[in-house]
Symmetry: C2
Subunit: 340 residues, 2 copies
DNA sequence: CTGTTAGCGCATTCAT
DNA sequence: ATGAATGCGCTAACAG
């Protein structure tokens, strides 16, 4: 518990600097004018004694913990880790420190994790995805600054930071159409597996709308469902092939399944992108390692994390966030060849 | 800051349960025998008022923070994130909470991050890799439980949890030799880029030793250096090819570079593993998505994280860790074909 | 077994 | 501008 050998307190340095404890506190937190001489004396004593304020005493007395709670859903997930990284970067240089909790995509655990963060008296909280009810989130937001990332809330859109899934899917599909593809398969996932409420479904809708806007009727035989895991992408392609309905491109609702799809195609001797074009969704960094590599222009997840950190800091400073409702754009990696 | 509407303290529930605050504290932390009746009354009051103990007051009074610091080097790195995940799992169900800090592979930042964790009065600390001097680590270990993961310390081996790099590389190389390969290239990295002191160098040594033990003299023309990043793997293969020295297999000192190598081979139309076999190192999960996929039997990084959590818990309970010096085994993914 | 009394280390009034 | 006093909420002796 002790930071070094002796636990020196504010009294020690007050004594050494010949001032009162309150003066020491003042110069340390810059809360009031203090004579330059005393200020210097205090600072010198601080460095000489290598004084470290006790965070718990500070928090107890001030009511501030100087921490930001971050509720993620899956530690180790590329997309979420990207956001975490962004948050870390965004908080750098500030006096705030992130406290992480993992909901593991299980509502019960998620609630527990939320409670833990609240128990830790975080000054602000960033929630990534998840299934916490909007009511609960509203109740929390009433007490402390709250930002929700990668999820769209109807009742409190001004707290959200999310990707426009519909638009991104729409653009991806449109791109394939423009490349001459007419038989575009889509790998989606049923609601039970969906990350947050209806992300995946919106991608499905974007896919359909793009087809319709370009004058094509979506063919249900070209749509298969997976569970968002890599392995299900393999099965999805098997399923597609078994249906006998030809296709020249696949748009997968997430990168994981697109990896599985890539694998299945490889096993079948189907070349990408010569025989079949492939587009994923989520911007997993590892997609760049695929053969051929899927490409993207930026790393939106990290950007979202940074934006989230900025927003929560703004909220805590009383400012309304500069990005009340930031919308990341197309998060797609592609490996596409022209058709016809 | 307040958890809910009203901030209720231990006095509130003491009053409601008709006992003294200390009795409340006793039942809450189970620190002494309390009459069942009072115990029940307290518990009921706690639930009725939805009482949440103030962590800061607890820590201040008890001297325990119930947190363990985790110093990582690169948030978002597959290998380290695996360890973090393991730590999270290992801490689950205990009363301890992890506090993460990121050293970013930069010694100055690493020191700062360490200081921050210490300032937060963590009860124990897990250090992943890094370059903190052994002296500093020893000084810390003298004060609080310390476990060092993915790094081997000469002066305090009993605190370490690492991979036997030499052995793993030795086995990988031997495996290639047994598969009939004779011209085995190796992609390594100079010291300046090395993760922790000499991990990469030990892999190089293991590679050499295996060759010698099997009666072959290492050929310097088959060894190239990268910087551990993916892109450098591409360049490494280009370099190898330009040298005109034939090779039938590549053993890369980490997975990132092997991905790059895979890419370069693909661009050159060299098939894997038909033309050239490839072995990586680190067990990156994404390696499974390569085409053809690299395989492995387990996920050592997560295991190491769990072991680290267990070890630190043991240390804090006064027990000597059950795994004083755990050595993960072969961390290799392979895509190898028989030669000749 | 249980209530009373002191702090834990700091921030923050309130006087001066 | 600065010192003294008070309290943050809880734990840990200390008595009984």
């Amino acid at each position: 518990m002790l930071n070094n050998e002796t636990k020196i307190t504010i009294l020690d340095i007050a004594e050494k600097a010949n001032v009162s404890p309150s003066t020491v506190s003042r110069v340390l937190r810059n809360s009031a004018g203090v004579a330059q001489k005393k200020r210097d004396a205090v600072m010198q004593a601080v460095t000489e004694l290598d004084y470290r304020p006790n965070i718990f005493a500070q928090s107890l007395a001030s009511g501030q913990s100087m921490t930001i709670g971050v509720l993620t859903q899956n530690f180790g997930s590329p997309f979420y880790d990207g956001i975490l990284q962004g948050i870390l970067q965004g908080l750098e240089g500030t006096d705030y420190w992130p406290l992480f909790a993992d909901g593991r995509w299980q509502p019960a655990i998620e609630q527990q994790a939320l409670d833990l963060l609240l128990d830790r008296r975080v000054d602000g909280i960033i929630v990534l995805g998840g299934q916490t009810t909007e009511e609960r989130l509203q109740r929390i937001a009433a007490n402390i600054p709250l930002v929700v990332v990668a999820r769209e809330l109807k009742m409190m859109p001004e707290h959200c930071l999310y990707v426009d899934n519909f638009q991104a899917a729409y653009r991806a599909t449109k791109y394939l159409l423009e490349m001459g593809h007419r038989d575009i398969a889509h790998i989606t996932a049923p609601v039970v597996y969906q990350e947050s409420v209806d992300d995946i479904f919106k991608r499905y809708q974007g896919y359909q709308q793009a087809l319709r806007d370009m004058g094509f009727e979506p063919d249900p035989r070209l749509v298969v469902e997976g569970n968002l895991q890599q392995q299900s992408g393999v099965l999805a392609v098997e399923m597609l092939l078994s249906r006998g309905r030809p296709f020249s491109a696949i748009f997968s609702a997430n990168d994981q399944m697109s990896f599985g799809a890539r694998l299945a195609l490889f096993r079948r001797g189907i070349r990408v992108p010569e025989d079949v074009s492939l587009i994923g969704f989520d911007d997993e960094a590892s997609a760049a390692y695929m053969v051929p590599p899927l490409t993207t222009s930026r790393q939106p997840s990290v950007e979202m994390g940074q934006a989230a950190a900025q927003a929560i800091l703004d909220l805590m400073n009383g400012k309304t966030p500069t990005l009340p409702c930031f919308q990341a754009h197309l998060i797609v990696r592609e490996s596409v060849s022209r058709r016809r």
